[in-house]
Symmetry: C2
Subunit: 288 residues, 2 copies
């Protein structure tokens, strides 16, 4: 049971956590925090939070669980604002898409690793933002990755694990560096390809015709290019190293593919496409 | 009304056309043609075709409409087999994803452009193949591009147009070269990115973990990597020039993006992502 949950950043990720915990009846009071009044007022109307403040330090007063779900670029400021205002015994966790930067931000703000900090990342989301996009089912049957540090209090870890399990998620732990590499490959790189593809088509002379003849596959393929640009700028900056490495690896793959097309090497193309198809089919089967 | 329709290649595309025309009651007899007996027998069982032969020249005997829906690499062989066996007055059209190569294949087989040939391409499909994947609704509210040549008989063009409209499709005409460029951008390039991405992840050391933590967006983004590898090898070879140009354009875009990440140029990244998001959102709105 969480007595008082503080949600800093009441958007898709923060709002959905509050909704899920409320639906399960495992939270007493939910205090929201953000900058725009309209979003916070809507959060109260929707029953996602009980009350709000625009000051993170006020939001965490008396909270036994603090969930920070602001864009990565705002993490350090939030941590600095709350670092000496937390209740003893309060657990702090977050939903940021990159973990190395969040840990660095926390260390800078808290002057060291706070044992009550459990860095986390729910592998769930949509391309929509704000509290109105949030829904209680977002985390059902999804994975949440926690990246506890050597200093992390085991009790804090188990409280955060239990919180996510209550939302229907499956919790896995891994190191910060491994998380950032895996996510660079499976999420950050695909987003770069989708943004890059749509942008390069949008910049073509006859881009109206181009988009007019795009088929169904194009809609699915580019869905993630409708994601929040600020959030993605922050992710790129926060996960620069791992993402740059993945982009370079992908660049080598595409150079090889382009070369095979230029020299009409059908055999090599077939090999690439078959390997990709069987990996994708295996992935979908195992995700069932 | 079509008295006798010959479908050479009774797979997703050919089977779906036959189903749609039958449902509308605008076709007398449907003769199927392919290599594997099992697929053809299944096509009869499913009621997609009335009878079959494994010889294209036999299939077109007495047909007033011939639809060629084999992989691009098999087009030339089919055209050669039927070139002097067509009924006078028969119209020939196809569903190949690249039009330049189909026209070249037809010219080689027919020794010139046959006036009865109407090259075409339905902008509809799924990642599945074979007659069992076919369905009558595939072409509803989808576009079909026809690329008539100066030599094309206007009556043949209008018969093919009417046939597709009966299936619920909207028909547009454009030049062969324009078709191949537009499709390189909206379909062939995205497929290369999806195949390339999945292949480069599949080749990573810890690829099990990689795929395990892929989220919902990944499934949609990579759906097209489950497409038929032979069909895509053929498309790459058939549309080499336009696709190479698009790959080069995309390469420049990605180099710029990777450079911006490396030098932490958040402003430029935001500009790219915002332009892409607004183009993608506009595309989805206009597709509604
Ligand atoms: N969307 C996804 O698919 C996804 C998935 C997993 C993890 N994440 C991570 O989850 C976090 C939140 O993403 P989201 O999708 O929920 O975004 P969102 O819907 O835009 O929500 C973010 C919320 O944070 C608030 N906020 C922004 N700056 C703030 C600040 N300085 N102080 C307090 N509140 C602030 C925003 O409200 P105001 O603008 O009114 O302040 C907004 O309501 C990000 O770190 C992201 O990387 C996202
Ligand atoms: N799938 C799409 O999304 C899509 C969309 C638009 C256009 N197209 C185009 O449509 C055409 C067919 O694609 P599809 O998706 O329908 O593929 P499919 O489901 O694999 O069907 C192709 C059919 O052609 C037959 N075939 C192959 N080689 C042949 C030959 N030499 N002689 C006679 N039949 C032969 C195959 O049967 P056997 O192996 O038994 O011969 C198979 O039933 C391709 O040119 C493709 O570029 C596809």
């Amino acid at each position: 049971m969480i007595e008082r949950l503080a949600v800093i950043g009441v958007g898709l990720i923060g709002g959905s956590l509050a909704r899920a915990l409320r639906r399960e009846g495992v939270v007493g009071e939910v205090v929201g925090c953000g900058r725009a009044l309209a979003n916070l007022e809507q959060a109260v109307e929707l029953g996602v939070i009980d009350r709000f403040t625009q000051r993170p330090d006020e939001a965490v007063a008396g909270a036994d669980m603090v969930f920070v779900a602001v864009p990565l670029g705002a993490m350090r400021g939030v941590f600095s604002a709350i670092s000496d205002r937390l209740d003893p015994g309060a657990v702090v966790t977050d939903g940021g898409s990159v973990k190395g930067s969040v840990v660095a931000d926390a260390m800078a703000a808290f002057k060291g690793v706070p044992p009550s900090l459990v860095p986390g990342h729910p592998i769930a989301g949509t391309e929509c933002s704000g509290v109105e996009a949030s829904f209680a089912e977002l985390y059902e049957n999804r994975r949440v990755i926690l990246t506890p540090l050597p200093e992390t209090d085991p009790d804090a870890l188990s409280r955060v694990t239990a919180m996510w399990e209550t939302c229907g998620a499956e919790v896995t732990c891994m190191s910060v560096a491994h998380h950032d590499e895996v996510l660079a490959a499976t999420s950050h790189l695909p987003h770069m390809l989708a943004f890059g593809l749509v942008d390069s088509l949008a910049r073509m002379r006859e881009n109206d015709a181009i988009f007019r003849y795009a088929a169904g596959g194009f809609r699915d393929f580019t869905r993630i290019a409708s994601s929040n640009p600020v959030m993605w700028r922050d992710i790129c900056l926060a996960n620069r190293e791992a993402l740059s490495a993945m982009l370079a690896r992908f660049g080598v793959e595409m150079t090889d593919l382009a070369e095979s097309i230029r020299r009409a090497d059908g055999e090599h193309l077939l090999e690439i496409f078959e390997r990709a198809k069987s990996a994708r089919d295996r992935y979908v089967d195992s995700a069932r």
